[in-house]
């Protein structure tokens, strides 16, 4: 295991890399031609200025926040459930958001903010339903009950989504639902970013400050009780904050999978399990990963590739490599 000093150093290194990638991404795009735009051009060309500051900048910030939130939430879910195979989509959150979006597109017209709100509401209701169903199950431990009810609630929402897709207008509404399900940041504006930024940033700060505590919540109930904490309450609070932040980002990005699953694994592999290091590492690596994928999504083809496809492709590939190289440690 690396020493404390080297882990701190590596975290600062990651932060520096993220800042450099951020600046690099600002210059990267397909205007005036695919590749990097020169600083002189930005100074002289008003169209370039508009492009960089009104389209690229909010989009790059969103990409970083998206990756940070999904990876942080993934770390928290995995630690709290003591299971390295869970992610934020796990308690009915993603399927709830997907259902909410389709519902908004079909019944509430085309207002982006309205769709965003319904996505967030249904994502949270996915969590709430999973929670209340879990409380009513009379067998098994708390984690097993939440897992089971999460699976059932997700299945119900996904059945509901199927019905909505069947009802949707195949020429206008269905493509829109499909694009949202594929995930992407092409629709980001300052306005949409600012609608979620406060809640997202506050959640990230709170979860970052709680990072040592998260270790304690990965212990079983009687042990964490004996260490003077109230495991049920604190776990629910952390899950709620992580879910709210996740619901907020996916309400603007659509479904972006695999980030919340794969990045916490990589962070733990590099920095050890202690969330004092693995949580900030997951945040930074998640931001980098999602920024990198979004850069590819923007630049590779003249038409944009949906971000969710790229994260799924890269995420699944990395997961495959980790599995085959047997560096993935999953307790039996």
């Amino acid at each position: 295991m690396p020493t404390i000093h080297s882990r701190n150093l590596a975290l600062w290194g990651l932060l520096t890399l993220l800042i450099l990638s951020f600046i690099f991404s600002l210059f990267l795009g397909r205007y005036p031609e695919p590749g990097l735009i020169s600083p002189q051009r930005i100074i002289q060309d008003t169209l370039a200025q508009q492009l960089v500051f009104n389209l690229r900048l909010p989009r790059i910030i969103s990409a970083v926040l998206l990756g940070m939130v999904l990876s942080t939430a993934g770390t928290i879910f995995q630690m709290i459930f003591g299971n390295p195979l869970v992610e934020p989509g796990f308690l009915g959150v993603s399927q709830g958001a997907a259902f909410g979006t389709a519902f908004g597109i079909i019944f509430l017209g085309n207002a982006a903010w309205l769709i965003q709100v319904t996505a967030a509401i249904f994502a949270l209701s996915g969590l709430a339903l999973s929670y209340f169903v879990a409380r009513r199950i009379h067998f098994g431990g708390w984690v097993l009950r939440l897992v089971l009810s999460g699976i059932v609630i997700s299945a119900l929402f996904s059945a509901g989504l199927g019905i909505l897709k069947y009802l949707a207008d195949p020429l206008s509404q269905l493509p829109e639902i499909t694009f949202w399900l594929l995930g992407g940041l092409w629709g980001i504006t300052w306005e949409r970013l600012s609608s979620i930024s406060i809640i997202v940033v506050l959640s990230l700060i709170f979860l970052f400050l709680m990072r040592w505590r998260i270790n304690l919540l990965s212990l079983n109930d009687e042990t964490s009780h004996s260490l003077g904490i109230t495991p049920g309450k604190e776990r629910s609070l952390l899950l709620l904050v992580a879910t709210i932040a996740t619901a907020a980002v996916i309400s603007v990005s659509g479904m972006v999978g695999w980030v919340g699953l794969i990045i916490p694994h990589i962070a733990r592999r590099l920095f050890g399990a202690d969330a004092r290091y693995s949580l900030p590492a997951a945040m930074l690596i998640g931001g980098l990963f999602s920024l990198f994928c979004d850069d590819l999504a923007r630049v590779i083809l003249p038409g944009e590739i949906p971000l969710g496809i790229l994260t799924a492709f890269l995420g699944a590939t990395i997961f495959l490599i980790l599995m085959i190289r047997q560096t993935l440690s999953i307790p039996k």
Binding site: M1, P84, W212, L219, T223, L227, G228, G272, A273, D274
Partner: protein
């Protein structure tokens, strides 16, 4: 006799509101500074009794007093400073280093947003030295043997600097060498004034280190008192329902069976 630090007064407990009583009308006093062994066959409620003392389970009837105050009047953090638990087993899901794992024992002294500091790290390292795992402190807790894992859990409880240490079947995964280490460690802690309560189904462990004994069967207490008053052939035979003998070897009481 020392005053009672932990008192059970007519305590009854059941796991489900309409279920059977696991413990019935249980009254006992744990003298301060004693090493008390809760001895009895498997499945009679020994662990339940320990978890009641810890405040993790709440009695259905009766009351539990810690230092003459009701257990329910203490905050969780206060209880975390008073009592440390060494569970029988614990599933470790992630590869924490030993030092990181033991550091978790400092939680009752830290606010929710605090990080453990130099002092906490020092105390955690000392706890690892006490159980003899200091050479492994930067190794992964996932790669420990059963015995080492038990010592690790012990170290975490020691990092809590508890006044009462609760151990659930502490010798269940230990070989002879580690058992003797455990016994010596319990003796050292008792000398430092820590009250120790441990459950066991092994009469040998109880006879070698306990000062007081509680015999428990079918959810109620059969005998309680000083070791020399309780550890007798007839009482143990009645407890286990099979003939055992308590004999003296080199001034020590030894339990033999068969």
């Amino acid at each position: 006799m020392n005053r009672s630090i932990l008192t059970f007064d007519s305590v009854a407990f059941r796991y489900q509101a309409d279920g059977n009583l696991v413990l019935t009308n249980l009254s006992l006093e744990i003298p301060s500074g004693s090493v008390t062994s809760i001895l009895g066959p498997n499945g009679v409620g020994k662990t339940t009794l320990l978890y009641l003392a810890l405040g993790w389970l709440k009695p259905h009837q009766g009351k539990i007093l810690l230092d003459d105050r009701r257990l329910s009047d203490y905050s969780r953090r206060e209880l975390g400073r008073w009592m440390g638990l060494v569970p029988q087993t614990e599933h470790i899901s992630f590869d924490f280093t030993l030092l990181e794992y033991v550091l978790l024992g400092r939680a009752p002294y830290l606010n929710p947003l605090d990080m453990p500091g130099e002092v906490d790290i020092h105390i955690a390292s000392e706890a690892l030295i006490q159980v003899g795992l200091e050479n492994l402190q930067h190794r992964s807790a996932l790669n420990l043997s059963g015995g080492e894992r038990q010592l690790l859990l012990m170290a975490r409880a020691l990092a809590q600097q508890p006044r009462i240490l609760l151990l659930d079947e502490p010798s269940s995964h230990l070989d002879l060498g580690n058992k003797i280490k455990l016994i010596n460690l319990i003796r050292t802690l008792a000398q430092q004034g820590v009250t120790i309560i441990f459950t066991t189904h092994e009469a040998e462990l109880a006879s070698s280190v306990a000062t007081h004994l509680i015999l428990i069967k079918d959810g109620s207490i059969q005998e309680t008192g000083k070791l020399e008053d309780v550890l007798h052939t007839e009482k143990l035979s009645a407890l286990y329902g099979v003939p055992v003998r308590v004999i003296n070897v080199d001034d020590k009481r030894v339990v033999v069976w068969g």
